[in-house]
Amino acid sequence: MDILYIINHVVFSLFITLFLVEIGMAFTGMLFYKSYAKIKKYLIPMWEINGTFAIFYIVSFEAIYPKLLVSVGILYLVPVMIAALLFILRNAFISYSEYANNVASEKNYFMVYGISTLIIGFLVISIFSSAMSGIGININTNTLYLLEFLFNPFNILIFISLILLGFCITAIVLSIDKMRVYTSAALFTSIFIGLIGTSTYTKYLLNNIFGDIWILYALIIILLITLFTLALYIKKVHISNKLILPVTFFIILIISISQYPYVYGNQLYINVYLTQSINQVPIIYITTFGMLFLSISISYLIYIYNKKEIIKEK
């Protein structure tokens, strides 16, 4: 497996993990607005960084698979452009809500933000699920059949599964103890629906997972850790809120890497589209140093976030 393939999927998994948290927070906030005060505390530093992760994924894809861009650019023009427009709406309304002058405006702005985020989520998940399944697209003619692409059963199942997962992550990250029953039910439903969808519509993926013992082991171990994290949350052991994000990241990473070396439902051999070898070394270096920079600066942000006020203003 090429290192650039792994880099691309690590960035993808980081982006999707954080985006799922945001979708979960938007979904939870819309359903239970009373919990918004708690959600806001995490959402405010997060929404800006998530948008940057989206760009990070797009650019890493451009750098790693430049020869695939023509096909991707033509195929996904409509969903991506609509998602980009809604992205402006999302950013605008979350920032408006940050500086809203009264509770009613804050709630209204948050609702617009929430709806835009959910629709963006649906479009983004549709793109990635079609890349997994190849449903709704014809890669030979670069044609996208919009209705089939959006509303095929695989996409709907994956979307529901991920929304429920996002809801669980939110409850665990924010340690919302009152939602333990909902969270447990949502997590089991999410896993069940995800498995049904994957095994029915992407048989090659299942074959890959069962064909490579290491992927199978990794998936089993990570699912066990997920259940263990849920148990900790139910028992109100709040270390679960630190475990859930890495766990989600590894679930997504393992599933996405298990597609290797094909995309679009086993139709397209991805390695042919890899960038020339001369570009690989600088991409690896920039990614490594960039990730190091990100880790240090995000650690500093967390340190500052948890630090107590020490200075009184003159």
């Binding site: 530093p45 948008g51 940057t52 698979y65 609509i82 402006i88 950013n91 600066s297 500052i304 200075i311």
Partner: protein
């Protein structure tokens, strides 16, 4: 050129024209916040302290829209010009990749700035906002590297590409040092600080003009304007120097563009600087000669120097000649900004209370508006001037485009969307400040 490609270009141009305004504010406002915070602490000055606090909400809202508009530009690049991005991905992707981390730096340090107030020293807190400004400027630097590559492509075997279409002998690092990179960066960064600061000057000069009674508020606006005019003055010096350096660069590296900007139909020595004029029926009409030999001096360093003419190049490689008018307005408006600052210096030497003078304040607003037009015209000139190429002498705009018919409704949607979002944002910012009593904040 098909209708789809025209919409591609319009969509890209429209999105960029909005984004560059937001981007220059994203570069300049953090610098002003940092300087105000430092000055406020150093002189224990409540006006500067209040300025740093009050600018921040506007900055955050504009940053939110700016990141989204930047994302839309990035998405536009890939989806409207897939062949172009595929080429860039193979030859010149590194600065685009680095820009992502600059963007991350900006986002993360904004969050650090929010949460570090009262948790670290004031100078350290101000320094964090300086880092935000630095990362914002770095983003501009990296994207300008891509633009420089589009003007002066390097880093692969060009002749082999033109004959076979294969990209060979790639040097991915060459994009960091194309012949036009340094000067373009110098010009983009200096004009970003200039225009970003001038947008604030428009608002503060207008507010000062409107404020009649509250003395404390008047002093606040004067302190703010003094700081902003100082930053704009320093920036304009660098903007003029970098602008002048761009002329010989164009002359040697993009002669068609140079000839179109100056409307030189034939190569000529002792070339005068002309303004206005149109080229019709094979002759140049309606132009004004302002200074003899000036064009030759600026381009070649000698009054006898020969400048290129469009007749040296095939007509299908000429940029649209409207770039000459863009160039004229750019020079005239730039000149007007220079005069504005010269006037301020003169009044200062005469010990006139500059900021107490209504005419100066009105002129500041006019200068601010001119600076915005200057920025937009400058970009239009740079981009139209490279036509028909998207990558000079390598790939045309039509070769790069996505020909999907879906682009037309999407482009219309984007334009309508911006028409709603930008006024809404201005309204929300206004509403935010209406509910924050300035005089109360100044007395706290």
């Amino acid at each position: 050129m098909g209708l789809g490609v025209i919409f591609n270009r319009f969509d890209m141009g429209f999105s960029l024209s909005i984004h560059i305004i937001l981007a220059v504010m994203g570069i300049a406002i953090p610098l002003i916040i940092m300087l105000a915070e430092i000055l406020g602490q150093k002189y224990n000055n409540i006006y500067y302290k209040t300025l740093s606090k009050r600018l921040f909400p506007a900055f955050i809202i504009l940053f939110a829209i700016g990141t989204a508009s930047g994302t839309l530009v990035a998405v536009n690049l890939l989806f409207l010009w897939p062949n172009f991005m595929s080429f860039i991905g193979q030859v010149a992707i590194l600065p685009v990749y680095l820009e992502v981390f600059a963007f991350f730096g900006e986002s993360i340090f904004i969050a650090i700035y929010i949460y570090s107030r009262k948790k670290i020293g004031v100078y350290a807190h101000a320094f964090i906002m300086g880092i935000v400004s630095l990362f914002a400027a770095l983003s501009a630097v990296f994207i300008t590297m891509l633009n420089a590559f589009m003007n002066t492509p390097v880093g692969f075997n060009i002749s082999n590409y033109l004959t076979t279409g294969n990209i060979t002998n790639i040097n991915p690092y060459a994009i960091f040092s194309t012949p036009s990179t340094l000067i373009e960066i110098f010009h983009v960064v200096s004009t970003s600080y200039l225009v970003g600061t001038f947008i604030l000057i428009i608002v503060f000069a207008y507010k000062l003009l409107k404020t009649k009674e509250n003395k404390n508020t008047i002093i606040y606006y004067k302190y703010a304007l003094r700081l902003m005019l100082f930053v704009a003055f320093i920036s304009v010096i660098f903007a003029i120097i970098s602008g002048l350096l761009s002329i010989p660069m164009l002359y040697s590296l993009q002669p068609e563009k140079y000839a179109a900007l100056e409307l030189d139909m034939h190569p000529i020595s002792n070339a005068p600087e002309i303004i206005f004029g149109t080229y019709t029926n094979g002759s140049l009409n309606g132009y004004l000669t302002i200074i003899p030999n000036l064009q030759s001096i600026l381009a070649t360093g000698s009054p006898n120097g020969t400048v290129p003419g469009l007749s040296q190049f095939p007509k299908n490689s000429w940029p649209p000649l409207i770039v000459h008018n863009f160039f004229d307005f750019m020079v005239l408006f730039g000149f007007a900004l220079g005069i504005f600052f010269a006037l301020l210096i003169l009044l200062k030497l005469l010990k006139v209370d500059i900021l107490g003078n209504k005419i100066v304040l009105m002129l500041s607003i006019v200068a601010g508006v001119l600076s915005i037009i200057l920025l937009e015209i400058g970009w239009l000139m740079a981009e139209f001037g490279r036509q028909p190429w998207i990558i000079y002498n390598i790939m045309t705009v039509t070769q790069a485009a996505n020909y999907s018919s879906s682009i037309i409704p999407i482009a219309i949607g984007i334009i309508l969307f911006y028409i709603c979002v930008i006024p809404a944002t201005i309204y929300i910012i206004q509403k935010t400040y209406k509910n924050r009593d300035l005089s109360k904040e100044l007395s706290e």
